[in-house]
């Protein structure tokens, strides 16, 4: 049976309670009659022979690009850059898609007699990956061949010797990227596309860029002008990256882009209930839910987090395309929509969402309050095309425990941002003006970013800027079950139950509001008509 498309349910009296993520736990909520629940399309069928598909893509590139074997020759300098730990979510079961693609690229490079090959993790300002994470992404064969020889490196956006300034765009934006990548005869970028924002020129222009370059589009103004940043036709973030990408190409950087699409099969069979529509739950699903939820309710959050972060997704590749950046990305974006697009009629007064334990920036870590805000208002809110799911002045209700808890290794600057900056103001523009530079240039944060596994000092600002469009658009944000102190620090309201949250929302949107719930996992994009 072919996978079913997304579905918008109108809740009636026979509708069973709806499952909500709640961090490392679950909640069941009975929504008011007439509410809408949006379910994602079912996972698309994967490629039957991914290796053959990758080979075919490399040999039959899209756009104005020669086949990869024709671009490889002895004596050349080849750099392979690839997406970091932030993709996919949750991390996929072995073999990771990056391993599958890069092994094929290396096979072709070996056949062509290319000796000078280097692999770079396109970190941007993210934390460095650990050895186990790299082994998982690349496989032991690649890791053991390159890492011990110093040929597997992680992009360092603060190493002046490893960066090169390529010039300014016509809008005066600095383009400064990884020197090795820029000076290679061929830069192969291996991308995983999980959301429509990923890939395209953003891969190199962001993933291999410096703070000096990133600040031009990672700012509140860009985010407020992107409606949304998941819709490339209305995304200022996209436009900025495209300007930079063109400058990179004009500078002579030869990019061979490889983009892959995954299906949205995000959890292993034990968690099948997460992705099923509640009324279709069978006995197994109900038992699995009851077992998991009761066990998690009795498990300390720390251990529940460890359990969830050990879960690997059974994502499978649905397509792979390679060649010229823009031609490749056009196909990739279409494929993202095929997997994730759901047509939704009209906006809603209240948008509710259950937030999971994971976001792109806390793999193997804690979803701290800033990341909670970013996941809900930055990501889920922006997963639309056309217009936001929630009307202007509407309310977003998120379900998450939002603990006042941070990982000091991964998120040291987040702690200070939360304590020092959000206690002063939550306005993204004021924050950018008053605090960004001091965090971005703080030597201690830079040291931790370069030598440890810390996100860059400016990263929590970017997470907050990610929320800028939603903060400007919404009348209120309510977090159900959140830690009151942490939620208030974010400038949001806290409710102990969904019923309370709806009562609070009534004060803002009126007494007969419409409610729409986005049922995740898996993620999806709403095409709001």
């Amino acid at each position: 049976m072919s996978p079913r498309p997304g579905f918008v349910l109108e809740v009636d009296r026979s509708t069973p309670p709806t499952l909500y993520w709640h961090g490392e736990r679950f909640r069941m909520e009975r929504l008011p009659e007439g509410s809408r629940v949006i379910y994602a399309p079912e996972p698309l069928d994967p490629l039957t022979d991914p290796s053959a598909a990758i080979r075919h893509a490399l040999r039959h590139p899209l756009g104005d690009k020669d086949p990869l074997p024709a671009l490889l020759h002895p004596g050349m300098k080849l750099t392979i850059a690839f997406d970091d730990i932030s993709l996919p979510l949750p991390p996929m079961e072995r073999p990771d898609i990056r391993q599958l693609v890069i092994e094929q690229v290396l096979d072709m490079a070996a056949e062509a007699g290319v000796d000078d090959v280097e692999l770079i993790v396109a970190l941007a300002l993210h934390r460095r990956m650990t050895e186990p994470e790299l082994r998982h992404a690349l496989g032991d064969r690649i890791y053991d061949a390159f890492a011990p020889n110093g040929l597997l490196t992680q992009h360092d956006a603060e190493d002046p010797d490893a960066l090169v300034h390529l010039g300014l765009t016509d809008q005066g934006e600095d383009v400064e990227i990884n020197k090795r990548a820029a000076e290679s005869d061929l830069l192969v970028y291996v991308n995983i596309n999980l959301v429509a924002m990923d890939g395209g020129h953003k891969s190199v222009a962001t993933g291999l860029a410096s703070y000096k370059s990133l600040r031009h589009h990672h700012n509140p103004q860009t985010m407020q002008q992107s409606r949304s940043f998941m819709d490339q036709h209305k995304s200022e973030l996209h436009s900025a990256n495209w300007r930079m990408g063109k400058l990179i190409a004009d500078s002579g950087v030869n990019v061979f882009q490889i983009e892959t699409n995954l299906n949205n099969d995000a959890f292993p069979p034990a968690f099948n209930f997460l992705q099923k529509r509640e009324w279709e739950w069978g006995v197994k699903d109900r038992l699995a839910y009851l077992g998991a939820s009761k066990a998690l309710d009795r498990t300390p959050a720390k251990y529940a987090r460890q359990i969830f972060h050990s879960v690997k997704a059974p994502h499978r590749m649905t397509s792979v395309q390679a060649g010229e950046v823009e031609a490749v990305h056009a196909v990739t974006t279409d494929n993202v929509w095929k997997q994730q697009g759901v047509v939704v009629e009209g906006q809603t007064d209240i948008l509710s969402m259950g937030l999971p334990y994971i976001s792109p920036y806390n793999v193997n870590s804690i979803l701290n309050p800033i990341l909670v805000a970013c996941l809900g208002l930055g990501y889920f809110f922006n997963m639309y095309r056309g217009k936001p799911l929630v009307r202007e002045g509407g309310v977003v209700i998120m379900s998450h425990p939002t603990p006042w808890e941070f990982n000091p290794v991964h998120h040291p600057s987040y702690i200070d941002f939360f304590e020092q900056v959000l206690s002063e103001t939550t306005d993204p523009i004021e924050i950018a003006k008053g605090f960004e530079e001091s965090f971005a240039t703080d030597p201690w944060y830079i040291h931790l970013y370069r030598t440890g596994h810390a996100y860059h000092g400016v990263h929590p600002f970017y997470m907050w800027y990610w929320c800028a469009h939603a903060l400007q658009h919404l009348g209120a944000v309510i977090i159900v079950g959140g830690d009151p102190a942490a939620v208030h620090r974010l400038g949001f309201r806290v409710a102990s139950t969904m019923a309370d949250a709806l009562e609070m929302a009534n004060d803002i949107v009126g007494t007969s509001p419409t409610l729409t719930h986005i049922h995740t996992p898996p993620i999806f994009m709403s095409d709001v008509q």
């Binding site: 026979s14 929504l31 009324w279």
Partner: protein
């Protein structure tokens, strides 16, 4: 308990107040209505539901998946009309179903005199609010109709499992009807059975009312009548929603009224769509008669002011709020039971 007769004014008043509340003209009522709608109230009902311990209920507006090949509309019910099965069903119907229906639903039968002169087969077209509608109506049919009647039942609901198909085919002489799309097989089966002399009970709304109000009638009953040139007897069932409303798991004892209307024949040149509207209008008049009286209902029918079965076109909670009282009593002011009960 609200008096059944001689109290139509008070009933109308109650209804008007509720309608006001629904329209927001009565502040006090409006607050009450909002409380009924409030998520707290809805959440508190969750305690009664046992999902995920129990199997989930199926949302009303989500079509059920296609059943197995020889289930659904493909299920063969021929066996259920064979003589030994009919005999067994008649025994169950007369000795189990009817006494149970009388105990649980205490049916007051009105208008059965219309059936005196009409010859079989006929098509009974009734409104539908509860699973009890079918056995109740079956048990209220006069004897000459009762044991030669089949029931049009939703193929996707009553025939999606083998045990369900067998149970309903036996106990109610149910035949599978495709209600979500036109299906030649199910339409032909019903036509053949009527042509073969079987009476047919059909619920033109296509399913039970989700909120107590009626739904727009579909064209099945009219189509069959036009095709077989047999009359349609409009039937209104009042109070069954209180016995076993949709979504409820328990049965409550209450009184019900089964009102038969005059048989309707398709007029010369009248197509099924227009005839269907006439059937719906006739059932709406019977509904009006149940909450007012025969004369008022007749006058309103002639003037075209009969309240529609579907209720007001407003938000769900307001529709719910505007529902009329549905607990009829069967005795007049002097305590003498009238009209007569079913024998």
């Amino acid at each position: 308990m609200t008096p059944r007769h001689g109290s139509s004014r008070s009933l109308l008043k109650t209804r008007a107040v509720r309608a006001d509340a629904a329209l927001g003209t009565n502040g006090h009522r409006r607050v009450a209505a909002l409380k009924r709608y409030s998520p707290t109230g809805i959440a508190s009902r969750a305690g009664r539901r046992r999902f995920p311990l129990a199997a989930p209920s199926w949302p009303e507006n989500v079509p059920r998946p296609a059943p197995d090949h020889d289930l659904g509309v493909d299920y063969d019910t021929t066996w259920s009309r064979k003589y030994p099965v009919r005999l067994a069903r008649a025994m169950v119907l007369d000795n189990v179903t009817r006494p149970l229906a009388r105990v649980i639903a205490s049916p007051l039968i009105r208008g059965d005199e219309y059936l005196t002169d009409v010859g079989a087969p006929v098509i009974f077209a009734a409104n539908h609010t509860s699973h009890i509608d079918t056995p109740l109506l079956m048990s209220c049919l006069p004897l000459r109709f009762r044991h030669r009647t089949v029931v049009a039942a939703a193929a996707d609901y009553f025939f999606d499992r083998r045990w369900k198909a067998g149970f309903f085919a036996f106990s109610l002489a149910a035949i599978p009807i495709e209600r979500n799309k036109v299906n030649r097989r199910s339409a032909q089966l019903a036509t053949d059975l009527v042509a073969d002399g079987w009476n047919l009970i059909i619920f033109p709304e296509g399913g039970r009312s989700p909120d107590g109000w009626g739904q727009t009638f579909r064209g099945g009953a009219a189509y069959l009548s036009v095709k077989t040139n047999r009359p349609v007897v409009p039937v209104h069932l009042e109070g069954t929603g209180n016995v076993l409303p949709k979504g409820s798991k328990g049965i409550r004892r209450t009184r019900t009224t089964v009102t038969f209307g005059a048989p309707l024949w398709p007029e010369e040149g009248e197509d099924a769509r227009r005839f269907g509207l006439r059937i719906e209008s006739a059932v709406a008049t019977l509904a009006d008669e149940t909450i007012t009286d025969w004369w008022t209902a007749r006058k309103r029918a002639v003037m075209g002011t009969t309240p529609p079965l579907q209720g007001p076109d407003v938000a769900r909670w307001r529709r719910s709020w505007a529902l009329p009282e549905t607990t009829p009593t069967h005795s007049g002011s002097d305590g003498i039971e009238w009209p007569r009960r079913s024998d």
